[in-house]
């Protein structure tokens, strides 16, 4: 039994690498029916949406990336049978269910305003300068419901309205920019761009500089390490190798 499953998954892995090799039907125990772009497909249970699509014969060129839930490329919108709720998820992270209606959102159309972090004043009003639509937020919280990362999206949009960079940055830290919030927003806000702007401004002006880093940079600038550099530069390739490997072994890895 177990082996069967694994072998199945292997084939799927093959498939997902873009190699479209069919799965032996008799290996499959449970089948589910999904509707992709309105067309019905029989696919093996247990596949992720992305795998299922590929099984069904689609070749994903856009709308797929890391396949590990980090890149945010494979946004999916779906409804379960007999449910009124519109669900959002990452295709590589969600398993197919029987009677799923779904479609992929390869890209959420949104223009990112041009700004020069260096030139910006670190002031509350700047948010609305670049993202005036933030002021249209009605706190309906749909964005939060849509976020596959379970971020408090509405809260950081509201923080942006108040010009609170710190909150925006912290609340949006795990944003993967999948764009599902922006697709669902009735106020047509592009939350993830707002968040990114917020994080950048906070990173530049908000967080205090790490003093040791500062110190070290100064030291380097003052040429305190020039001697060491020269030594290393003078080494032959073999010597260099041994120094490196020795270093690797001695310094704890993190």
């Amino acid at each position: 039994m177990a082996e069967k499953k694994i072998s199945l998954m292997d084939t799927v892995k093959q498939a997902s690498k873009g190699v479209i090799s069919g799965i032996d039907k008799k290996d499959v125990e449970h089948w589910v029916e999904i509707y992709f772009l309105g067309k019905a497909y029989q696919v093996p249970a247990g596949l992720t949406i992305m795998q299922a699509l590929e099984y069904a014969g689609y070749r994903l060129i856009r709308s797929c990336g890391c396949r590990a839930g980090f890149c945010g490329a494979c946004s999916t919108v779906f409804r379960r049978k007999g449910e009124y709720k519109l669900q959002t998820a990452m295709a590589c992270q969600t398993r197919v269910e029987d009677g799923m209606y779904l479609v992929q959102i390869p890209f959420s159309p949104a223009e990112k305003p041009l700004y020069d972090i260096e030139k910006e004043k670190y002031e509350a009003s700047v948010f609305l300068k670049y993202f005036p639509e933030v002021a249209r937020c009605v706190s309906c919280n749909t964005c939060t419901k849509a976020c596959p990362q379970d971020l408090q999206v509405m809260d950081y949009v509201q923080a942006a309205l108040k010009g609170d960079y710190k909150q925006v940055a912290e609340l949006s830290f795990e944003c993967i920019q999948c764009g599902l919030c922006a697709i669902r927003c009735p106020a047509e806000i592009v939350q993830y761009h707002v968040a990114q702007f917020g994080r950048r401004m906070y990173g530049k002006y908000g967080i205090p500089r790490e003093e040791n880093t500062e110190k070290r940079v100064k030291e380097i600038k003052n040429g305190e390490f020039n001697k060491k550099f020269e030594e290393i530069m003078s080494l032959s390739e073999e010597e260099l190798r041994s120094v490196y490997t020795e270093q690797q072994n001695t310094r704890e890895v993190y």
Binding site: E123, S125, V126, L128, K129, P132, E133, A135, R136, L161, K162
Partner: protein, 134 residues
Amino acid sequence: MARKIVITSENVAFLKKISELSDQVITRCDQCGTCSGSCPMVEEMDITPAQIMRMVQLGQKEVMDTKAMWICASCFACTVRCPRGLDVSKVAEALRQVKLRQAIDYIDVNGIPDEEMERLPQIAIVSSFRKFTG
């Protein structure tokens, strides 16, 4: 040359729609003009608030092409004075909404210069969007 109005069932439908959106019995307005005299923006308007009420009473859709309904600042000066207890601001809002719900914005956000944007208080931007954009 006087304006000629033909009144059809469409006019009645329009009156009904605005009455429902605003939750006001617009036909109760007896055109005393108190709203117009109370309106701080009336000098800016192309037609007076009382005229808005009148045109809606007669179901004249042209009222939606007037500037007046957008000039209204929802200050409720008319509301607290109307001898018939009508809320004129609600009627103006209903008219604006009919347009906005057709995704016809009244102001162009990108048209507002950056320095103005930085100067305006949030409250101004938020509320103007609520009133001027769909």
